[in-house]
Every structure is written in C-alpha cells, then in structure tokens.
C-alpha cells in the first residue's frame, strides 16, 4: 500500500524499483531526520511529526512516478502537498529559505544512501524522476514560504504604522487646538498632551529597534548591575500613568538583585504596552515577588483570553494573531520574542496564563542573581 497523495489502495502495476522504494521508506526517513537534525540548527526544537510533515506522501508519489506507465509525471505533479510543506515550515518553524532547500537536498541524499545500503541502484531515467520531483517540490515549497513571509511583513508594516499613527494624530490635533485658542492655559494643557503622545512614540521606537535588531538565537548584550526591582518597576510604570490616569498599579516589595536594568525595563514596557492594548480597558497590575532566590515579575490584564493554541506561538518572531475577536489585523505584540529573549538571557523564562475568568498574566521568572548567566563573576 502507498501513502501517496492519491491514496492508492494497492501497489499493483508499479515497477520493481517503485516497490523497492516503498519498502525502504522507513530507512529513508530515519536517515533524513537524523541528517536534518545534524545539519540544520533551526530543526533542533522541532518535533518529529512537524519535521517529517507531508514528506512521506511526497516520497510515495516519487515511487509511483518512477513507474513509467503510472499516470504521475513526477513526485510533485498533480498535488499541492509541497507548497503546503513550504507554508507549514513558515508557520510552524523558524526555518529560513536556504534551510528548506537544504532539507530537500538532504532528502535526495537520504534516498540515494538508503538504496546504496540495500545494494541496488536507480537507473538514469529513474534517478532523473527523483531529481525532477525534488527540484519541482523545492520551487513549490519556497514559493509558498516566500508568500507567507511577505504576508507577515505586510501585516507587520500595517500594524507598526497603525500603532504610530495614533499618538501622531493626538499630537496634530493638539496643535490645531493651540492654533485656534487664544488662551495660554489651553496651550499649556495641550502641551502636556503633546508630550504624552511624543513619549508614546519614543517608547514605540525603542521597542521597534529592539525587535528588529536583535538576533533571535544570539544572546542579548547584558550590562549587569545591582539595583532594587521596586525602583525599576515604579519608574517604568510612571510613563504609562502620565496625564493623571492610573492605568497601571504596582505591587512590589523592595528587593535588590543583579540583573540587566536596560533590557529588563524594555521587557516590562513591552508587557505593559500589550496589557493596555489588548486588555478590556481595566487596570493593569504589575507585581514583583522575590522568593527562594528568584524574582517573579508579572503583568496582568483582564479581558479577552489568548486561545490555548496560540499561547506558545505568541512568543515567536513576527507572529501576529490574524483575524478574530473582531480585531482586524491587530494581534499580540511584536515585542514578545524580545521579552522571551530577555528572560532567557537572565537564565529564566517567561510564561503566560490566560482564561476568560482570570484574564491574562505574563510572568517573568528569573534568578535574583543573573551574573552566572551573563558571564559575569559573582
């Protein structure tokens, strides 16, 4: 029986080579999986089912196509399974385009090695079918992969410009009020509004630079110093409570530890920005607790929960929630991969807890003393 994309019931009418190829399927996939994990760093944390994906069906399609009389020209003809593969690589993994090409090359090598081990050879015509199949599959996969990335970039651009236009609009409206009003008191009041808008834009810019410039796998530059977490939390929260509205409340005990002040502050700003943006308008609560040598820093908001299927994905690079909850292209912040990177560089982690009843809480869990993780002598 084959598992090709036509779900054929038997292998009647297939040539000996086709049958031999079907018989060694497991060997090929064992070899292929091992060599991908060996050669492609991005594959390390990908589970076997996601890594193998639709490739066994493609493999069986090639086996069928090798029989000259079989109505399939090559392994990637009559099917969209290879563009699906490229799409899933884009959505489910952090593979780059060159690594998708590489995995297909390793796939071709695995077929050749498995055949060689069994002591048989493809004829020139048969091997030609294998190569054409793989070449076509790579093109299909990369085309889809590139399209999805293009879509992600467009959504990112739309979201970023949206986020910047709001404070910009506030600033411009305030200048119109000043131009129209003869009263100095009104002008002063508008000046404060302009300052609020400008500071929001400044914060967005620094977050944007963080997101676009940090290397996903690289460690962040850390400048470790001793400071009181309560000071950092209060200073950070202050920027969000400008203009008299107490949007964010703080529950933090005084506790001194060793961390990177700058990156920790940026991570906290990111979490608070998200909590305000995606919460239901209720107060955001920031809490800092220090117990048994660890700092638990959490940011809580009430409102729409994050679906279970999305809880891990929101930490992925350039990932944004698509349509849903009536929220246009809006999604969870682009800053979360950065937040996770900050937590990991401190030797800790960030997690999310979200339900309709309890709201959404992001918790940063890091050691009180991060010097060992930043390569600093304690």
């Amino acid at each position: 029986m084959t598992i090709g994309t036509d779900q054929k019931e038997s292998d009647d009418g297939l040539s000996d080579t086709s049958r031999a190829m079907l018989a060694m399927r497991k060997d090929v996939f064992d070899l292929w999986e091992a060599s991908i994990r060996d050669h492609i760093d991005e594959a390390q944390n990908v589970s076997a089912p996601i890594l193998i994906n639709t490739m066994p069906a493609f493999y069986d399609n090639i086996a069928e196509a090798i029989t000259p009389s079989y109505p399939r020209e090559h392994g990637a003809s009559n099917t969209t399974s290879m563009s699906v593969h490229g799409g899933e690589r884009a959505r489910m993994t952090s593979f780059r385009a060159d690594q998708i090409i590489h995995e297909y090359q390793l796939f071709r090598d695995a077929i050749a090695s498995a055949a060689k081990r069994r002591g048989w050879h493809f004829s020139a015509e048969e091997w030609r079918v294998v190569e054409v199949s793989i070449d076509t599959a790579v093109r299909d996969a990369i085309r889809e992969f590139a399209q999805i990335h293009e879509g992600m970039r467009e959504r990112l651009a739309a979201t970023l410009s949206h986020d910047m236009r709001n404070p910009l609009s506030l600033i411009l409206t305030a200048t119109e009020v000043i131009a129209r009003s003869p009263e100095l008191g009104v002008a002063r009041q508008m000046g404060e509004k302009i300052a609020v808008g400008a500071k929001r834009m400044q914060l967005m810019l620094s977050q944007l630079v963080d997101v676009l410039t940090y290397e996903r796998s690289a460690k962040l530059p850390m400048a470790i110093s001793a400071f009181d977490i309560r000071d950092l939390v209060q200073n950070t929260v202050q920027q969000f409570n400008l203009g008299g509205e107490e949007k964010v409340t703080v529950h933090a005990a005084s506790a001194t530890g060793h961390w990177c002040r700058n990156s920790l502050q940026r991570a906290l700003e990111n979490l608070i920005t998200n909590a305000i943006k995606y919460g239901d308008g209720g107060r955001v609560r920031v809490q800092a607790d220090c117990t048994s040598g660890r700092l638990m820093l959490s940011v809580h908001n009430s409102g729409n929960p994050i679906a279970a299927s999305q809880r891990e994905r929101i930490f992925e690079y350039l990932w944004r929630e698509g349509e849903g909850q009536g929220r246009s292209a809006e999604g969870w912040g682009i800053g979360l991969p950065y937040v996770r990177s900050v937590a990991e560089s401190h030797g800790g982690s960030v997690s999310v807890d979200s339900s309709a009843a309890t709201g959404t809480t992001f918790t940063f869990d890091i050691p009180m003393d991060c010097r060992p993780f930043a390569g600093v002598e304690s």
Binding site: R165, T173, R180, G243, G281, S328
Partner: protein
Amino acid sequence: MPQASLQRRILIVDDNRDAADLLAQILAMHGHVTEVAYGGPGGLAAVESFHPDLVFLDIGMPQLDGYQVAARIRQMHDIPQPLLIAFTAWNDADAKARVIAAGFDLHLTKPADFGTLLRTILNSPCASL
C-alpha cells in the same frame, strides 16, 4: 446662509480619551455641537440620545469594536441615520473594505489632514433635516 447649515451635531467614539476629547474640543471651536463616548456601548447610547448628524467612530476598541458599533447603528430605525465615518489608524486595503462592508459611509485615516476633516463635515448632510 443660516448658521444652522454650517453647524453639525457630531459624536466622537474612541476608547482613547485624549483622542476623543481633543477632537471634540477642536470641532467645538469650529462651531459644531459635539458629544464624546469612550467605548462602543456608550457610543450606541449617545447615538440614541444625541441624534448626531455624523459620527467619528474608532475601530479598535475593547468590548464592541467600530465594525460592530456601525452595524448596530445601521439597525436602529427610530433615529435619523447619521453619516458614519471610520476614524482609524488602520489604512490597509483590507481594513478599508471591511469598513465599507460594515455600513460606514467613509474611511478617514488618523492622523487626518484637518482641512480635509472640516470639509468632510461641511459637505455632509444634516441627518435631522
């Protein structure tokens, strides 16, 4: 020309209080009668009580978003139907298409050129006439 034809009743619905208040303030300085609501439910109540000629409606709001508010206003049959303007920082093609599909008359991107905004208001019909 009578003064009334230059004056409109304008409702502004935006969850960003500063954005709503400032727009109301500047439009009042230009002689219009304004009302603000800081969310979808408040906006719907204001449409019923204030009978605006036009509504500037933000899209991204918690609880009820701008699309939902617009659709509900269009289902109100006991009030003069106002001109609905989506006043939003979303300006991609998808958002614009969705805005019109939801029942809005116009899409205006934040920040809007103030001259354009005033002309849009003066060119709009008075719903109550």
